[in-house]
């Protein structure tokens, strides 16, 4: 398993948000993580990225224990986060973003390779990230994560507030990631995107993963979807 999580408990100050999460993700697999607001999806990805402190439990990537390590150590071990709301540096240009990200970990993804995949960013290379459209910023956030040549990519609501055409581009990039052997954990409210790219679907509730099935099976079972998510 590329990513293996056991009994993960974490949270903010003294209130635990995650109450013992178990999760395995293989190389080249894509898991869509669904759940109602407040279920702990974002806390899980932030914890995996080292941005929320671990209370107890284990996180390994390719067998290396990462629970409790600093965020930069975790990133260098091959975990990349595309955060909710993009969080690009508004005062740096697109080119500077790509240069910063590409220095972290060498591998198959290069600046030129990324720009071939996302040609819009090539046109915008000299522009400040703060002047990009929301879709372009999302592309940049994805590019920034991929340039660290990760083994695991955590995408937190990448389609949030974006036009359908851009969501399709994100789906295409996720498919490319899979073919490169990257393990993808996709937190998503947009079921169309989630079902389109994920092999499996997991549902979180009250800080735990309560259901995990192949995507096709989840789609055949609207009753469970209704019960867990409040949608059909």
């Amino acid at each position: 398993m590329t990513l293996s999580v056991r009994g993960l408990v974490s949270g903010y100050d003294r209130s635990a948000v995650l109450g013992g999460v178990d999760l395995d993700l293989a190389s080249g697999a894509t898991l869509a993580l669904l759940g109602r607001n407040g279920a702990g999806k974002s806390t899980l990805v932030m914890t995996l990225a080292g941005l929320v402190p671990v209370t107890s439990g284990s996180i390994t990537v390719d067998g290396v224990e990462l629970a409790g390590r600093r965020a930069d150590v975790i990133a260098r071990a091959g975990v990349a986060l595309v955060p909710q709301g993009r969080r690009v540096w508004s005062t740096l240009t697109v080119g500077e973003h790509l240069a910063l990200a590409s220095r972290s970990r060498k591998g198959t993804w290069t600046v030129d390779g990324i720009l071939d995949l996302l040609p819009r960013l090539r046109e915008r290379r000299r522009q400040l990230a703060g002047q990009l459209s929301g879709g372009e910023q999302q592309m940049l956030a994805v590019a920034r994560a991929l340039l660290t040549n990760p083994r695991v990519v955590l995408l937190d609501e990448p389609s949030d507030g974006l036009a359908p055409a851009i969501v399709e581009q994100i789906a295409a990039v996720v498919t490319t990631m899979r073919s490169e052997g990257v393990a993808v954990l996709l937190v998503e409210q947009d079921l169309h995107l989630a079902f389109g790219v994920a092999d499996e679907v997991a549902v979180m509730a009250r800080g735990e993963i309560v259901h995990r099935v192949p995507t096709a099976e989840f789609r055949r079972d609207p009753d469970t979807a209704q019960r867990l998510l409040g949608v059909a």
Binding site: R76, W89, A101, Q127
Partner: protein, 322 residues
């Protein structure tokens, strides 16, 4: 993709560099020619502007580029000034020895205190640097055998170049200009390098930089030491120019005036910090007597006006500051 074109397209970096280079050359020529036209007092004031401009630029590397507001940066400026002055008196005044000693001691002082500050940010960084600044000020006041205590370090000989002392204000000015220009070029190059991009990344969103694999504490420590070294360089220029160092040159007042200069000039632009420093020195030293001791009041009013009218400082008037 149906993105809307941004209404304001900034000039390309290449175009800005071309334009900026000519302005920089013109400023250097004017500063170099100034002693030929100015009276000695005006020349000394201009030299002091350059000294504090270099100090402000080193502070801007922390405040504007990295987002670390320091209220104790004079500790490193003062350490460099005392070290350069002491070396000139007891060892040699031959350039570049006092300069290198000043820069080295400034960097060393920053290295020995930076490990405390590098893990902090924002108001905690501000308070820690303030405390360190006060501590160094106390040391300067009490360590009489080295610093001269409250009387200051006096009788510093003029800097010598190839055995010849820089006997008048004009020669001293050229020496100060040369070193200040080199120091500015150093900071400018660092700020424009990939290391500088990482510092701006830390300023804008430190957790994001960590999540990209950057050990941000290490970067903050490195820039703190570098800024201390450049401040030490500026300190050695102060002693070359005024030939004495007093506890006032290490204190809180200088630190806060320079922070004021950086904000007035426009944090992050580097050259804006030079303008801010020029304003502070001119109001304090040249206009001080005619303002009947109300110089700080004038600076206070300018500061409030800048905060309200020019949130990005004087540099903000000429496009983006980064």
């Amino acid at each position: 993709m149906t993105a809307v074109e941004p209404s304001v397209v900034p000039a390309t970096p290449a175009a800005r560099r071309g334009y900026g280079r000519w302005v920089a050359i013109a400023v250097l020529v004017v500063l170099a020619a100034a002693p030929l036209f100015l009276a000695p007092f005006a020349t000394s004031t201009l030299s002091r502007v350059l000294v504090f401009a270099l100090f402000a630029v080193s502070l801007d590397l922390l405040v504007g580029v990295t987002g670390l507001p320091s209220l104790g940066h004079a500790a490193y400026f003062g350490s460099g000034a005392y070290a350069a002055g002491w070396t000139s008196i007891h060892v040699t005044a031959e350039a570049p020895v006092p300069l290198l000693v000043g820069a080295g001691v400034g960097a060393l002082a920053a290295a020995s205190t930076g490990w405390i500050t590098a893990r902090s940010a924002g108001v905690f960084f501000l308070m820690l640097t303030l405390a360190i600044g006060e501590l160094v000020g106390q040391v300067a006041n009490t360590w009489e055998s080295v610093t001269g205590g409250a009387n200051g370090l006096t009788g510093v000989p003029a800097v010598r170049i190839a055995g010849q002392p820089l006997a008048n204000a004009g020669f001293t000015h050229w020496y100060v200009l040369l070193v200040a220009a080199l120091g500015f070029a150093l900071v400018w190059t660092v700020a424009r390098s990939p290391f500088g991009d990482a510092l701006r990344g830390i300023r804008d969103n430190e957790p994001r930089m960590r999540a990209l694999g950057y050990s941000t504490s290490l970067y903050k420590y490195a820039v703190f030491v570098l800024a201390g070294g450049v401040a030490g360089m500026a300190g050695s220029l102060l002693v070359a120019q005024q030939r004495l160092v007093s506890t006032a040159d290490v204190g809180f007042l200088i630190s806060s005036l320079m922070l004021l200069a950086v904000v007035i000039g426009g944090a992050g632009s580097l050259w804006g910090a030079c303008l801010g420093a020029a304003l502070v020195v001119v109001v304090r030293d040249a206009l001080g007597p005619t303002l009947d001791g109300h110089g700080p009041l004038v600076l206070g009013i300018v500061f409030v006006a800048v905060v309200y009218l020019l949130p990005r400082g004087a540099a903000g008037l000429l496009g983006r500051t980064r």
